[in-house]
């Protein structure tokens, strides 16, 4: 049958072709906007020696923490260890190869990978451990280091809505790394809250054009909250931070 058939009915189908030793990108920031079912399914498949690119590594028993616990990840590429005790422990004991990358450099490496740009210069990290063994050059009186792009065999992302052509929309801060990872995967799988017919999403409101998306699966999301903060619990009228 001719046409675009991106919607798959099962997780094994969504992850078909995933093999030991492959590189995967996983969307999300903390536990916000993560492809929960796809991660769980990688856990169930038991794929090992994965190189995993994601901003964080979940918490001990949720998100990518599941794959850490089962030692399925050989190399973790991330910007923040944060509150994941197992990640920090594996990191300090050198049981897992960990590359910590500044968050903006990580985002740009992924963006560049998806856009066919092999490398770029950035001042971020100059003069720090991040610059070790990297070329540096001066531009307009400022030093910058050469950073190489990242791509993946599979990008596992989470979106709010997809249409059957793979056009995606995200919701609030659950967007984060998902749109750029969508562009950088040889196979991009989107786990979404709702699948609609092509034409049902306003073309002006699409965040990720369908060309970047290969497979779509309807997910069920628990959406666990990492740090529940409510007005009265803090006694402050205003919250922000980064």
């Amino acid at each position: 049958m001719a046409g675009f058939h991106k919607v798959v009915q099962s997780y094994p189908e969504a992850l078909e072709g995933l093999k030991n030793g492959m590189t995967i990108m996983v969307g999300g920031f903390g536990l916000c906007g993560i492809p929960e079912g796809l991660i769980r399914s990688v856990g169930n498949l038991g794929t090992t020696d994965l190189i995993c690119i994601s901003n964080n590594a979940g918490i001990d028993d949720f998100g990518l923490g599941i794959l850490l616990k089962k030692r399925q990840i050989k190399t973790m590429i991330a910007s923040y260890v944060g509150e994941n005790n197992l990640f920090e422990e594996l990191c300090l004991k050198k049981e897992m190869d960990v590359q910590l990358i500044p968050q903006g450099t990580l985002a740009e490496k992924i963006r560049a990978g998806g856009a066919g740009i092999p490398a770029f210069y950035t001042p971020t990290g100059f003069g720090t451990l991040v610059a070790k063994d990297k070329e540096s050059r001066e531009f307009k009186g400022r030093f910058a280091i050469l950073e190489e792009a990242l791509t993946a065999d599979f990008s596992l992302i989470k979106a709010w809505k997809a249409d059957t052509f793979g056009n995606l929309m995200y919701r609030k801060t659950a967007m984060n790394f998902n749109p750029i990872m969508a562009t950088a995967g040889a196979i991009t799988v989107a786990e979404v809250e709702e699948i609609v017919e092509a034409g049902d999403l306003d073309p002006s409101h699409i965040h990720t054009p369908g060309i970047f998306v290969d497979r779509i699966i309807q997910g069920q999301f628990e959406k666990r909250i990492e740090q529940m903060t409510i007005k009265s619990s803090i006694g402050s009228t205003h919250a922000t931070q980064s």
Binding site: N55, G82, L100, Q103, G104, T128, V130, T173, M175, S232
Partner: protein, 218 residues
């Protein structure tokens, strides 16, 4: 008396100017948002993809899809917008953020900052901090002047792995407000009832004291 965490935040809030886009780091910097001067408007950026961070939500308004970079549930102000991590760091690395406030383990007299790991002991990861210190127009560091053993955190040279080089120009501690230039800490204000001798003793880097030093008003 040394300043409390809230008082440090309150003093830093005076650095905010009308029309600023501001990024606040985790810890004391987060508290700065509680002390915005009444007569100005500023917009807070959170690097996970929100411009216009609002208050913490009421219980009914909690939304797991709406968090700040500390993974805390928040709200968005009227006129806020969401975007990808790539756009977020275009704002940060492109120099569009007017002021960044962040914490640190150490700063030194050359403006270096260390904030993301203690070898063999603690690895937090740098998150967005390296991008922020490389890209922001203006950086204020909020920190404690010395540890409990009385060892200074304002050093000649940072001992811990760096987050950025020659980028910090202002530090607000529990004891003092200092500016960094010409490879020295210039004492600008001091906490009330804290003596100059105490500040001298607890500042390992080169400290310059010129004229009369006013008390920090908080």
């Amino acid at each position: 008396m040394p300043l409390s965490r809230d008082q440090i935040a309150k003093r830093i809030a005076k650095e905010l100017k009308d029309g600023y886009y501001v990024n606040l780091g985790i810890g004391i910097p987060t508290l700065v948002a509680n002390y915005i001067p009444k007569d100005i408007q500023v917009i807070f950026q959170s690097e996970n993809g929100l411009l216009g961070v609002g208050e913490f939500p009421s219980e009914a308004d909690v939304d797991p899809d709406l968090i700040n970079a500390g993974k805390q549930t928040v709200t968005a102000i009227t006129g806020a917008c969401y975007f990808s991590s790539a756009d977020s760091f275009a704002m940060i690395r492109g120099g569009h953020i007017d002021l960044t406030v962040l914490g640190a383990f150490e700063v030194d007299e050359t403006g270096n900052i260390a904030s993301w790991m203690i070898p063999h002991k603690l690895i937090k990861g740098m998150g967005g901090a390296m991008d922020l210190v490389a890209g922001a127009q203006n950086i204020v560091v909020a920190m404690i002047h010395a540890n409990r053993e009385g060892q200074s955190k304002l050093l000649q040279r940072c001992q811990l792995p760096l987050t950025g080089v020659h980028c910090v120009k202002k530090v607000v501690t529990d004891l003092a407000v200092l500016e960094i230039h010409n490879n020295a800490f210039y004492l600008k204000e001091k906490a009330r009832d804290v003596s100059l001798e105490t500040i001298k003793r607890l500042t390992e880097g080169r400290l310059i004291i010129e004229g009369t030093i006013p008390d920090i008003e908080v």
